[in-house]
């Protein structure tokens, strides 16, 4: 008996229970007179499953290429930065100062550190460069992105009805698109 026939003949019985869905007779001979054939079949099926390779998805997401010309922060600074931003009882002042410094020096956090300083990246994404912004956008929780009453697409007539975080993003986007407009 091979793995395919085990799947077809045995698996339904093991899942539903042999009391409801009895195993087909004379599948295997018990290894000893005292052993239970059903348990031995369970053992065989289990081992066959262990040798099955994990299934590979048909397709994977193609990751976007983000053009980020900022320099990655030096390796020697990575640990102190993480420690500073994840320390207990830390106020938001050092985080803001750090974000401003990153912006002024055209630096960006190391991509591998983004999950570790996630809260900092979300709050200061616009000062940390396109990679960090992409991270912050991708990591937005569903509840934050939209509620039932939120307008779908924001424009000048609907932006006031959106949540505060969406309003902030909208205004920042508008400022970036048209920096000369003083109305905002």
């Amino acid at each position: 008996m091979n793995s395919t026939s085990l799947h077809a003949k045995v698996l339904p019985s093991l899942l539903a229970g042999t009391s409801r869905n009895p195993l087909p007779g004379t599948l295997i001979r018990p290894s000893s007179s005292s052993s239970d054939v059903a348990v031995e079949i369970l053992s065989l099926m289990g081992q066959a499953l262990r040798f099955e390779r994990p299934s590979t998805p048909d397709s994977f997401i193609v990751e976007p290429e983000i053009k980020d010309e900022r320099m990655i922060v030096a390796d020697t600074l990575r640990r102190p930065v993480i420690r500073l931003l994840t320390a207990k009882n830390v106020t938001e002042h050092p985080a803001r100062a750090l974000a401003r410094t990153f912006d002024r020096l055209r630096l960006r956090p190391h991509p591998f550190d983004l999950p570790l300083i996630d809260a900092f990246v979300r709050s200061n994404a616009e000062k940390l460069g396109p990679t960090a912004q992409h991270w912050a956008d991708r990591q937005k929780p569903d509840a934050e992105t939209q509620s039932y009453f939120d307008p779908g697409e924001l424009d000048e007539s609907t932006w006031v009805q959106a949540s505060v975080s969406r309003r902030v993003v909208y205004l920042e986007q508008r400022r970036r698109d048209d920096p000369d407009d003083d109305s905002r």
């Binding site: 539903a16 348990v39 053992s43 081992q47 262990r50 590979t56 998805p57 190391h110 991509p111 983004l114």
Partner: protein, 472 residues
């Protein structure tokens, strides 16, 4: 203020701690003893699999030790202070290592001596170093007493064998019941059913099987979608195989029979292993590539320190794991080593068909942080996975095993991350706990590295990428 013997007496929690510390006053127990910047630190080989790291600040006698002792300071910290105060031990001048810097940066400030409470019966006697000098009574072993003890041990062993076999009979009946009722049903009630049989197996002194079954519901719970019933079949199948192998151990190769006994619950103590002249020993440079910890139902935390052999030793295992168990209540979540540390040590491997678990026999050189890459074999993930399958054929209840890979990539399918072999049709799902942490690896291109495969999920531990090193 320098360390003095009087100060150490004042710090010692009790006389027993001082007595225990005295036994550690020998350089052979301390492969590393160093000083610098007002600190002394060292590594002490204790009863755990990994040496304990101890650091003491000379200025204020502040201390930190990685041992799980609930006494503060522990015997290791006291011994280090004592050796420093004694001035007859050589401390190498060295730059302060990262783990000491880490402790310094987390200190709240200089310690103040805790107010000692005295109960109604009056003050407790102060611990004294002088008292530890009283030579221990070394009564010659009474041969008859030793024979009686050996006979008692043999009697206990036979009683335990009988109890284990009776427990395995119960287990067979229980397994037959589960098969009758079906795995879909089993998954829904796994917690109660596994708890009941685990308790019976504990009574039958088959603690290994009991632990395996106790942990099963949690494992099933963490698996997504339709996986739990199939996983239940796999796990119960292994339990049955272990039970059968234990009963038929005389028919099996010696190492497989040993594996079966260990899986049932016959443990091998550290001393037994170190005294076993036939145990596999490998002296080499080892790199720590992963430190994992997991809380167990028995209120112990299992800390696994995974090592990769950096220097050549033909035909010897490339990988080893040091396993420590510490009480959850101590709050210790890591072993003595950090990922990236390198040690020069001889390891003794527990006997097994697939030797992985080991103990440090001798530590020639203590842990040092190293920036060198791992010396990984030139194998793609599929080749490494094929080795796993060969190992699985040899040891059917094989647990977690390291897999190395070259030129793989991390890819996303929905929220799930996969380690994909770009040269073969194999994708291993990454552990769900790594979904966020490993996400930046998606899109960085080819990665080389190592991780741990438990048959369900791959825990990525170490990856060399074009953006530098990524660590778990």
């Amino acid at each position: 203020m320098s360390l003095t013997l009087e100060r150490i007496e004042a710090l010692a929690p009790d006389q027993a701690s001082l007595g225990a510390a005295r036994k550690l006053l020998k350089p052979s127990s301390w492969p590393t003893l160093a000083e610098g910047e007002g600190l002394v630190w060292g590594e002490c080989q204790g009863s755990g699999a990994t040496p304990y790291r101890v650091v003491v600040s000379e200025a204020d006698a502040g201390y930190k030790c990685t041992c799980p002792s609930r006494k503060f300071p522990c015997k290791h910290a006291l011994a280090l202070m004592w050796m420093r105060a004694d001035r007859s031990f050589a401390f190498a001048t060295a730059t302060v290592p990262d783990w000491v810097k880490d402790w310094l940066s987390r200190r709240r400030g200089k310690s103040t001596p805790a107010a000692k409470t005295e109960d109604e019966t009056g003050p407790k006697p102060r611990p004294s170093i002088r008292l530890t000098e009283i030579p221990e009574a070394r009564a010659d072993a009474d041969r008859k007493a030793e024979q009686r003890a050996a006979a008692a041990r043999e009697r206990n062993r036979l009683e335990r064998e009988t109890a284990v076999l009776a427990g395995l009979d119960d287990l067979d009946t229980w397994l037959a019941d589960q098969v009758q009722q079906g795995m879909a049903n089993f998954v829904a009630q796994a917690a109660q059913r596994c708890r009941a049989i685990a308790q019976r197996l504990v009574d039958a002194k088959a603690s290994g099987l009991a632990g395996r079954l106790d942990a099963l519901p949690t494992r099933l719970f963490t698996l997504p979608g339709p996986a739990p019933p199939l996983a239940a079949i796999r796990e119960l199948a292994q339990v049955h195989l272990i039970s059968q192998a234990y009963r038929r151990s005389l028919e099996l190769p010696e190492l497989l029979a040993t594996d079966a006994r260990q899986a049932v619950g016959w443990s091998v103590t550290r001393d037994t292993l170190l005294n076993d002249s036939e145990a596999l020993r490998v002296a080499a440079k080892w790199r720590i590539f992963a430190v994992l910890s997991e809380a167990q139902p028995d209120r112990l935390r299992k800390v696994e320190t995974w090592l990769w052999r950096q220097s050549s030793a033909d035909g010897k295992p490339h990988c080893a794991v040091l396993i420590d168990f510490v009480p959850i209540s101590t709050g210790t979540a890591t072993g003595g080593y950090l990922v990236g540390d390198q040690i020069d040590a001889e390891l003794s491997f527990y006997r097994s068909t697939i030797p992985l678990r080991a103990q440090v026999t001798t530590l020639k050189r203590g842990a040092e942080q190293s920036s060198e890459p791992l010396t990984l074999p030139n194998e793609v993930l599929s080749a490494s996975y094929a080795e796993y399958e060969r190992a699985l054929a040899q040891l059917p209840w094989l647990g977690t095993i390291p897999l190395t890979f070259r030129s793989a990539s991390v890819r996303r399918h929905g929220e799930q991350l996969y380690l994909h072999d770009d040269q073969g049709p194999l994708s291993l799902p990454l552990h769900t706990s790594q979904t966020s942490h490993a996400l930046p690896l998606a899109g960085v291109g080819r990665v080389d590295g190592i991780g741990l495969w438990n048959g369900y999920e791959f825990t990525l531990a170490w990856a060399e990428t074009r953006l530098g090193r990524w660590l778990h």
